[in-house]
């Protein structure tokens, strides 16, 4: 075999390198293994479960601190701030709470998260989500005296809207921790760029005027979000459907979608208005207030008599391992913790107005003004129960017919607008076409094979089945999509586009 090449003779060095590599691998492996183990097993390692009904201070003695888990839809800055403030509070000390773990997860995963016993408190996400949890039996009533006392400080109703969910047993299942109104945020600079006037009602958002930039600049002036992804946008669509009635409501929703860029999440709409990608975006109030802080050409507008006040709940979840500590946190959020909302980067309206009497509260007279304005805003009558009866059906019908086939809708609408603006059709003809474009769909019900129209009664009648039967749901969505495409294409053809 010949002498080995000279560079292979440095055996001891080679061996050293080899050992180093091996040691490295082992060390990396051990570190990795340990860290992964820690990551996975960090859920409830420090505390022992306490008996729910034992009314003792601090969860079975003070030996080890209690850590409570909060699932939330709040932006993380709110949660970080709340954690910081709460851990210094009297209540945290009294109930020996040494840390809170907050976690933001999509609403779709909440049920599994709660049933697997990983959450103590649910906080933020809108009444719709909390009512869903309530009907699924995932919420537990408040029992701790401090929590009940704190809940009593929150008005039962604000502008006719309940701030608490009281079960048939008379117990409180959720309490609003903040209130919100719904409206739209405009970017005045972009409105000027596009020569648009400031909209003041939902109907203004559906106007051909707001559609003009589509023709002139090839750009949608409005931004909305997919209701299946946004609880706040869902609420706004429900408001429109109740304010204008089913038929006219869908007309406005359809034309809004035709005028709009449809974003996935409500936060995207806010950012698009701030950046000026769009001139108007429909938002919940505090997104509007934030936009105003970030970009001075933005303004939040509450459509008069067309908005409602919503309570954004907090609740104890069923199966909490630390129900008392969890309720102590709830009590804190409803009282002292209301100060979190006053942070200049958060800007939300408190559910417990007494926070405005604190020194911090007196510093935010602007927020107090917004609060009073919200109370005074002629809130419309809103039927919560009715909205819940067709909610999921409405969300998916919206998505199937207005979001997923948005370019078909837009093509027809643009062809119509072009004819209208050029004077090729009269306004009577235009209105006739609009009625045709926006009328509730006729389609074949996949379960009965019958031709049906998408009326309010129909939506309510199928809602149960729609939620529970996935294949029915998929078939229905396909049918809606096909019918919608057919309608939009027919209109485009009629208009010769």
């Amino acid at each position: 075999m010949g002498a080995p090449p000279s560079n292979y003779t440095m055996r001891p060095v080679n061996r050293a390198i080899s050992s180093v590599v091996l040691i490295l691998i082992i060390v990396i492996g051990v570190i990795a293994g340990v860290s992964i183990y820690m990551l996975i097993s960090q859920k409830p390692p420090t505390q022992q479960p306490s008996k729910p009904s034992q009314p003792s201070a601090g969860e079975g003695g003070a030996a080890k601190g209690v850590v409570i888990s909060i699932i939330s839809r709040h932006p993380t800055d709110i949660l970080v701030k709340a954690r910081e403030m709460f851990l210094k509070s009297e209540l945290a000390r009294k109930y020996n709470i040494t840390d809170i773990k907050t976690i933001v997860i999509p609403p779709g995963l909440w049920e599994r998260y709660i049933t697997s016993g990983q959450a103590d408190v649910a906080w933020g996400g809108g009444p719709t989500l909390f009512d869903f949890l309530y009907t699924r039996g995932l919420l537990a009533p408040l029992t701790l005296p401090e929590a009940l006392e704190a809940a009593a400080q929150v008005p039962d109703e604000i502008a006719g809207v309940p701030m608490k969910r009281v079960g048939e047993d008379g117990k409180i299942y959720w309490v609003a921790a903040a209130i919100s109104s719904f409206g739209f945020t405009v970017n005045h600079e972009r409105l000027r760029d596009y020569n648009l006037t400031v909209p003041h009602s939902w109907r203004d958002l559906a106007s051909p005027e707001l559609g003009r930039p589509l023709i002139v600049y090839g750009e949608a002036a409005l931004g909305i979000a997919d209701p299946t992804q946004s609880t706040s946008n869902t609420r706004m669509y429900e408001i429109i459907l109740q304010r204008y009635g089913w038929r006219d409501g869908w007309k406005i929703l359809t034309l809004m979608a035709a005028n709009a860029v449809v974003y996935s999440a409500s936060g995207d709409v806010r950012d698009a208005v701030i950046r000026g990608d769009i001139a108007v975006g429909i938002t919940i109030d505090f997104y509007g207030y934030t936009a105003m802080m970030v970009n001075p050409s933005c303004e939040y507008i509450i459509p008069k008599g067309e908005s409602i006040v919503n309570g954004d709940p907090i609740a104890l979840v069923n199966g909490s391992k630390h129900p008392e500590a969890a309720q102590a946190f709830i009590a804190w959020v409803l009282t002292e913790g209301q100060k979190v909302w006053l942070d200049p980067e958060i800007n939300r309206l408190p559910a417990n107005p007494s926070v405005f009497d604190t020194p911090e509260g007196r510093n935010r007279s602007d927020l107090r003004k917004a609060y009073e304005l919200t109370l005074k805003t002629r809130a419309m009558k809103f039927n919560d129960t009715l909205a819940l009866l067709y909610e999921q059906v409405m969300q998916w019908y919206f998505r199937a017919t207005l979001v997923e086939v948005n370019d078909y809708l837009k093509a027809a609408w643009k062809a119509l607008l072009a004819k209208y603006f050029s004077g090729a059709i009269s306004s009577e003809e235009f209105n006739k076409y609009v009625e045709e474009l926006t009328a509730p769909l006729n389609f074949t019900d996949p379960s009965t094979g019958e031709e049906v129209t998408f009326t309010e009664d129909y939506a309510i009648s199928i809602c149960q089945k729609f939620v529970s039967d996935a294949s029915f749901r998929d078939a229905l969505i396909t049918a809606w999509k096909k019918a919608a495409i057919g309608k939009y294409e027919r209109m485009l053809e009629e208009l010769g586009g």
Binding site: I28, L39, Y113, V261, V294
Partner: protein, 604 residues
């Protein structure tokens, strides 16, 4: 017959000592469990649903184009009569859009890449090093935020190009690229260096005598390029453009940033995100399957160039002095007036990310204010610092597995002459072509079905373990490839000598083989590591299953996507981009300068 069979068996038994068997079984088992099985499950779930429902849905599959590709509008904007030219592209439904887009991106990237490679491979000129660095800059991965900058470049209202043309030059013209066309442009800008680098290495390895012979026979100029140089560069060209095709198909960052839902990748991604009550829509499985099949088809066609065994042949060469020419004055002018600005433009997104990270505001066309606050927030913001620590943990954990698997698999493939080794080779290299989104969908089904309620269920325990496995599988090829190249250069006689002198297989491996390939191993491992840190597809899907909170389990890229949509967030995302850029530069320097190894520029 019998004799040959017996001798075959004897040969086989020589290789099948316990160490080699373990080395064969370990990667095979892991890859089968955590790559093949989840993908099969995707196919199975897809099979439960009628694929016809997807193909008959015009939002997925339509033969009639929708929309106008280019809008030309004469109108008044900000008190001035202007012509707006907006390229937006047409839609044929998500499936066809993804395909057409991949074709366009591949074509664009190929033209750019070949041109740049040719200039660098054949001409010498002052400033070449700077331009070469510029040309590779787009490969520095800065998920999402580079596309964010590209979008800023092409916005017709406040974009940098429109601002320059209209407000600086004073022309009554506003230019924009958006929607489907925006995605294509962003991908061409990001992926063209893949073609450039592959073609470049092919070109410098062409035997100069071949071109000289052609010249002697009278060929010159474009004819020489078309008939000799280009055909000889085909292996690099094929590998580079096929990778661009696959990356374009699976890229989800550009569609997300352009809010362009009409692509398969976006559809799979959004179906994953909205997986209500832990159930993933079966349509996601069908679309994932389509994505997988398309990518695998392309992969099969370039398999020869990317598999370990063949890779060794490709990297050989460079023994001669490449043909370099000085450029004429006209040529130099072309370089400085056309190529240099073009390369600056193509590298702009990465430069823009750095500018973004250090600026206070960037709402109009130009950034304002210098600040270190954004960079500091990586440490200060508990969610961000947590994500950095998570990514480091996952990447290091994955690295341990990758090194183990990489050494085992490469050694078996290089040394053991046993049947089925080709299959292992295929298994180890295929993750290059398998879209991460498909792996994410597969893992979701796999772990929530078979491990429901156990610590391996991502919804119960969070995604840590899944991410480590996904990273290991996806980034294995880089290390395996480097180790294999090292093994090719180590003569087998050295091992045989050790075996003859009585050392066992393990001892030989530890004392002889690993020290000899340690530099290759380290380089490969570093590359794997850095691409784990910047891994996007599985990170933004699986990574979110544990939610976001101060003890969350999400990796860097998930937080980058999450922060993109919050007020002031893009600046923090850009800081994370700068962090990733620094990490990549460090690794490139270590690999190229310290270890003197070739750096494998692949990865999305």
């Amino acid at each position: 017959m019998g004799g040959s069979a017996a001798s075959k068996l004897r040969k086989l038994s020589f290789y099948l000592d316990p160490v080699l068997i373990a080395q064969l079984l370990l990667p095979t088992t892991i890859l089968f469990l955590f790559l093949v099985a989840p993908l099969l499950l995707v196919a199975y779930v897809a099979g439960q649903y009628s694929i016809f429902d997807v193909l008959s849905d015009p939002t997925y599959f339509s033969l009639r184009p929708r929309g106008q590709p280019v809008l030309i509008l004469r109108t008044s904007f900000r008190g001035r009569e202007v012509t707006i030219i907006k390229v937006v592209g047409v839609s044929f439904g998500a499936v066809i859009n993804s395909l057409i887009n991949a074709v366009i991106v591949t074509a664009g990237a190929t033209v750019l890449g070949v041109a740049v490679a040719f200039v660098f491979a054949r001409y010498e000129f002052p400033g070449k090093t700077v331009l070469r660095i510029l040309a590779t800059m787009p490969l520095l991965l800065t998920p999402f935020i580079n596309v964010f900058v590209i979008r800023k470049l092409f916005d017709w209202r406040d974009g940098i190009i429109s601002w320059f043309v209209c407000d600086v030059l004073g022309l009554p013209l506003r230019l924009g690229v958006d929607s489907i066309a925006g995605v294509a442009v962003a991908q061409i800008m990001t992926f063209f260096p893949l073609v450039y680098l592959n073609v470049y290495s092919s070109m410098v390895n062409i035997d100069p005598s071949l071109e000289e012979q052609a010249e002697n026979l009278g060929a010159k100029g474009f004819r020489l390029f078309r008939t000799v140089t280009l055909p000889l560069s085909l292996p690099g060209l094929a590998a580079g453009s096929a990778l661009v095709f696959i990356f374009s198909l699976e890229d989800v960052a550009a569609p997300i940033v352009f809010n362009e839902k009409r692509f398969i990748s976006y559809q799979v991604f959004s179906k994953f995100i909205e997986a209500t009550t832990g159930q993933l829509s079966p349509v996601a499985a069908i679309l994932a399957l389509i994505l997988l099949l398309l990518a695998l088809t392309i992969f099969a066609s370039i398999r020869r160039y990317v598999m370990l065994r063949q890779y060794a042949m490709l990297s050989r060469g460079g023994r001669w002095k490449p043909r370099m020419r000085k450029l004429s004055a006209k040529g130099l002018l072309a370089i400085y007036l056309v190529l240099a600005p073009l390369l600056v433009f193509l590298a702009f997104p990465q430069l823009g990310v750095i500018i973004y990270a250090f600026s206070e505001r960037w709402t109009g066309p130009l950034p304002q204010g210098f600040t270190l606050k954004n960079l500091w927030s990586i440490v200060e913001d508990p969610l961000v610092s947590r994500a950095v620590i998570n990514s480091l943990t996952y990447s290091l954990s994955a690295l341990a597995l990758i090194i183990l698997l990489g050494i085992s698999a490469s050694y078996v493939i290089a040394r053991a002459r046993v049947p089925g080794v080709d299959l292992l080779d295929l298994l180890v290299t295929s993750p290059v072509a398998i879209p991460g989104l498909v792996i994410a969908v597969g893992y979701f089904y796999f772990f929530t079905t078979f491990f429901r309620g156990t610590p391996l269920d991502p919804i119960v325990s969070g995604p840590s373990l899944l991410l480590v496995l996904a990273y290991s599988v996806r980034r294995l090829p880089f290390t395996a490839r480097a180790v294999f190249a090292g093994l090719q250069q180590v003569h087998i006689a050295l091992e045989e000598a050790s075996l003859n002198l009585g050392a066992g297989r393990l001892r030989t491996l530890v004392n002889i083989v690993i020290p000899l390939i340690s530099l290759n191993l380290l380089s490969g491992a570093l590359v794997s590591f850095v691409y784990c840190m910047s891994e996007t597809s599985t990170s933004i899907t699986l990574g979110g299953l544990g939610g976001v909170g101060e003890s969350h389990q999400a990796p860097i890229t998930f937080i980058m996507l999450d922060y993109l949509n919050r007020v002031g967030g893009p600046h923090i995302v850009a800081s994370l981009g700068v962090l990733l850029i620094s990490l990549q530069l460090l690794v490139i320097t270590l690999v190229n300068v310290v270890f003197k190894q070739r750096y494998a520029y692949v990865g999305v």
